[in-house]
Symmetry: C2
Subunit: 457 residues, 2 copies
C-alpha cells in the first residue's frame, strides 16, 4: 500500500542547492580550522547513555534521544515499572545508547579514552550532526550540525586570541562584515558577585542588566530589587549602568569596580591581554566588544566567554559562541585538563549569508554542458568526448535517451546547464562539435580543444 | 564519580589521521560523482518508522535502530502488551522514529516527496552514515558510511555504461589497479530459471553455481540435486559449468543457452550493449567481467547487477555494488520510475588502500611549521607572521606556552611538524626568522618571504 511520504518534525531534507551552500560554509570553516592547526576527529552518532546522561542538566537529559535496545528488550525490565507505566524509570532498563547531544561531551570522552595516543596541547575540530528532542520552531531543529574547534591541555591566553582571529578569518572568507565578537570572562562575573556580596544572585543580576537597552536603568534596578539584590549592592556597581566606550575604557571601569576582588581583577587582566593583543593585530571584518552581561553556560565556563552576533541589519542573533572550561575532562576522570573552544552556528550563518546575498553564484554551479542524444552512434561519439572531459575534471553529461530535441533542451534549461553540445553526421565526419550557448542562443562548430576553452570561459 | 569511558560496540572513534584518509577517499568519490553530473542531497538521520519498516524484510526490520519516543512514552501503551512483556508488538507503540538503514529507501522517499521540484532524469549522490543493529565483527560495524550514486527516471543503458566508467575513474584516481567490476543481469537469471524450468529454485541454483571454484563441477551438481533441481534441468545448462573466455564468448554461450527464453535474451542484449560499449571505450585500471552467478538483492534488481571486488592480492572481497531497479519509488506510490545506481564501500576501500600502501603521504600532512614560544614579546612578533601565513592558507601554529624549548621541539616532533621557527631579539631587530628543518637539523635566518618559499618547498 502506498504511503504518503514525509519526514519527522524538526528534521530536514536538503536539496542539491542547499547541500552545495552548506558545504560551501563547512569547507570554509574547515579550511580555517586547519590553517590554525586544528585536526579533525569524528565520534559515533550514538554514545553509551552513561556517557551523556547527567551532563546537560535535567532538561538536557529529557532532550536526549534514546535508542531502544535491540531484541527482547522487555525481558529484564522490572514488572512493577511496567505495571505502573513509569516511563522515566523504565528508560534506563530498555535503552543503553543515546544520540549525541553536542560535540563537547563526546570530545571530553574521546580525550580521556585516547589520552595515551594524544599529544597535548591537542587542537581538534569536529563537524558532525547532533540531535535534540526539542520542540521544533523557526530556526530550531531536532537534527543540526555543530562545527566546533577546541584546544585542550594549555591555559595559554594566546589561544583565546587565536579563536577571535579564527572567527574573523572565517567571516572574512565568507564575505561577512560587521559580525560582533562579544567577549566576557567568568572571573569578572565572579568579581561582580563578590562586590555585590551575592554569589547566588549572579544570574538574576546579569539577566536583569542585559535588559538595559530595553527597559532602561530604572527598570533594571527595579527588577534587581525584586530579585532580592540590595540597593546597597546595586549602588556599588553603578558604573555598569553606563558601561560604554572603547574596550580599554570599559576595562578601566571594571578595574576600578573590581579592585577589591582578587578573582575579578584576574578576569580583567585576562580580558586586557586578549583585547590588547587583538587591537594590536587588528581584525579584518569583525568587531570585538566587551560585554559584561554575557554569561552563557555560566556553570560551565571558567575563563573567557565568547558569543558572536550577526550584523545588526539581519537581526538573526547569535551565530557562534564558546569559552574556556578548566575541567573539561574531569567528568571522565582526567583532572587538570583546561580547554577552550568555539562553535560556529551553521544554520544561522546560512540564513545570514542568504539574507545578505553573500553566496557566490559559483557555489551552486553544477553540470556545465549537456550533450544532446541523437541515437546510439552519435551518443557513442559524444560519450568518448564526455569521458575525456570528465577525466579532466569537467562536469558534463549525455542526455540518456534519444528523446525529442525540445525535451532535451528543456532539461538543460530547467537544470540551469549553460551549454548544449550537438553532434550529428557532419560533426562526426569532421571530428567537430556544435556548441550552443543556452543563454545567448549563439552556436558554433568547434574542435574538442576549442570546446574545452569554451567550457573554461 | 569518574566513569571509565568507552563507546558502544560496533561504533568507532576516528583519529585525525583516519579522518584525513577517509576524507581523501570521500572527496575523490565526490569529485567523480560531480563530473558525472550527480548532485548531492542529504536526508535526516532518522525517518518515520513507517518509512523504513517492512522495506528490508523481517531480518532488516529487526536490525533497524528504533528511537524511543520522548516524554511519557508509556502513557498510551497497551497494558496487556506490557504485562506480557511483548517486546515485538510494543515497539511500534513506544517508538515512531528509526535510524536510517540504508540510503536507497530514504532516496525513494525523497524522490516521491519532492517529485514536483525535481527535474527528471535525476542524478543524485548521497554520502551519509547508516546504522544497523547487526552483530559487530571484523569489518562490519553498527555505524558506517554509504556512498551512493543513482539516476532515476530513465531506462537508458548509457547509464549502466557510465556507472562502470564511474567506478573505473574513482579507482584510477585512488591509484587502485585490478579491481574487477562484475556485471550480470536479472533477466539472464530469469532466463536460466526459465530454461531449468524452476523459477523458485533460482537462488539455490546460483548459490550452488557460485561454489564451482571451491567444490568443483561434481560438488555443485550434487548440491543442486539435493536442492531439488532435476538432473534434466542441470543438463540443459551444462555450458554454465565451463563458463570461461572473454565477455563476448560468454555472451555467445548465453545467447545459445537462453535462446528459448524471451526475457533471458533481453538480458543478453542489455549485457551486450553495456559490455561492447565499455570495450570500445576502454577502462583505465579496472577489469570488467561477466559473472552469471552474481545475484545480490535478487528480489530488488530488475536489470543490470553490479559487484566490484578488490584486487585478488588483498583478498578483501566486495568494495561496491549496485544495479537497476525498475520500481524504486513504487513503495511510496510513484509508479514507473526506473532507477539504476551504485554504491562504494568506504570502509573496505580504506582497508584496500591501506593494504596496498596507496594513501599519498600528503593526505595526513597537517601543520607545516611550529613557531617556538619564547615569551610574550617574541610570541606577538611570531603571531603577526602566523596571522599573515594563515591568511595565505598555510597551516602554522604558535606553541601556546613559553615552555622549555626541548619540550616545544618534542611537541613538533611528535606531531610530525616538519619545520620549527625561532624568533629572538636578534630576529626581531632584523625583521627575520630562524627556520629549522626538523628532519635534517639544518637552520637558517630568513625573511618572511623566504620563509614562505621554504614552506612551499
Amino acid at each position: 500500500m502506498a504511503q504518503k511520504p514525509g519526514i519527522p518534525k524538526g528534521t530536514r531534507d536538503f536539496s542539491p542547492e542547499v547541500v552545495a551552500k552548506r558545504q560551501y560554509i563547512i569547507s570554509t570553516i574547515k579550511h580555517h580550522f586547519e590553517t590554525f592547526g586544528f585536526q579533525p576527529i569524528e565520534t559515533p552518532s550514538f554514545e553509551n547513555s552513561d556517557t551523556l546522561m547527567g551532563k546537560y542538566g535535567e532538561e538536557g537529559d529529557r532532550l536526549i534521544f534514546k535508542i531502544l535496545n535491540s531484541g527482547d528488550y522487555l525481558a529484564k525490565a522490572n514488572e512493577a515499572l511496567l505495571a505502573n507505566k513509569d516511563s522515566l524509570k523504565l528508560t534506563s532498563q530498555i535503552t543503553e545508547k543515546a544520540l549525541r547531544y553536542d560535540l563537547t561531551v563526546p570530545f571530553a570522552r574521546y580525550v580521556v579514552q585516547h589520552q595515551n595516543d594524544i599529544e597535548f596541547p591537542f587542537r581538534r575540530y569536529q563537524i558532525q550532526p547532533v540531535w535534540r528532542a526539542d520542540r521544533p520552531q523557526k530556526g530550531r531543529f531536532r537534527e543540526f550540525y555543530q562545527c566546533d574547534a577546541d584546544v585542550v591541555g594549555s591555559k595559554s591566553l594566546w589561544q583565546e586570541v587565536e579563536l577571535v582571529q579564527l572567527y574573523d578569518n572565517v567571516f572574512s572568507s565568507l564575505g561577512l562584515s560587521g559580525a560582533t565578537i562579544k567577549i566576557n570572562n567568568r572571573k569578572v562575573l565572579s568579581g561582580i558577585a563578590d562586590v555585590i556580596g551575592a554569589k547566588d544572585k549572579l544570574i538574576d543580576f546579569t539577566v536583569a542588566l542585559d535588559k538595559l537597552d530595553k527597559i532602561g536603568e530604572d527598570g533594571v534596578k527595579k527588577e534587581m530589587l525584586e530579585k532580592g539584590i540590595t540597593a546597597e549592592a546595586i549602588a556599588k556597581v553603578q558604573p555598569l549602568f553606563n558601561f560604554t566606550g572603547s574596550i580599554s575604557e570599559k576595562l578601566e571601569k571594571l578595574s576600578d569596580l573590581l579592585a577589591t576582588s582578587e578573582e575579578g581583577m584576574k578576569g580583567v587582566e585576562e580580558l586586557r591581554f586578549i583585547c590588547d593583543t587583538i587591537t594590536e593585530m587588528g581584525l579584518d571584518k569583525s568587531i570585538l566588544d566587551l560585554d559584561v552581561t554575557l554569561a552563557r553556560g555560566l556553570n560551565y565556563y571558567t575563563g573567557a566567554i565568547f558569543e558572536v552576533t550577526a550584523p545588526k541589519e539581519v537581526a538573526l542573533g547569535s551565530i557562534g559562541g564558546g569559552g574556556r572550561y578548566d575541567d573539561l575532562t574531569g567528568i571522565f576522570g582526567l583532572k587538570n585538563m583546561s580547554g577552550v573552544g568555539i562553535s560556529f552556528g551553521l544554520d544561522r550563518i546560512y540564513l545570514v549569508l542568504e539574507a545578505l546575498n553573500l553566496f557566490p553564484e559559483t557555489v551552486t554551479e553544477a553540470t556545465k554542458a549537456l550533450f544532446i542524444n541523437f541515437g546510439t552512434t552519435e551518443a557513442l561519439y559524444s560519450m568518448k568526448a564526455i569521458t575525456k572531459l570528465r577525466t579532466m575534471g569537467y562536469k558534463v553529461e549525455l542526455y540518456p535517451d534519444a528523446a525529442k530535441i525540445g525535451k532535451q533542451f528543456q532539461h538543460a534549461d530547467k537544470r540551469g546547464i549553460p551549454y548544449a553540445v550537438l553532434t550529428g553526421e557532419a560533426e562526426m565526419e569532421s571530428n567537430q562539435f556544435t556548441v550552443k550557448n543556452l543563454t545567448t542562443g549563439a552556436q558554433k562548430s568547434v574542435s574538442l580543444d576549442e570546446l574545452i576553452q569554451q567550457l573554461d570561459s
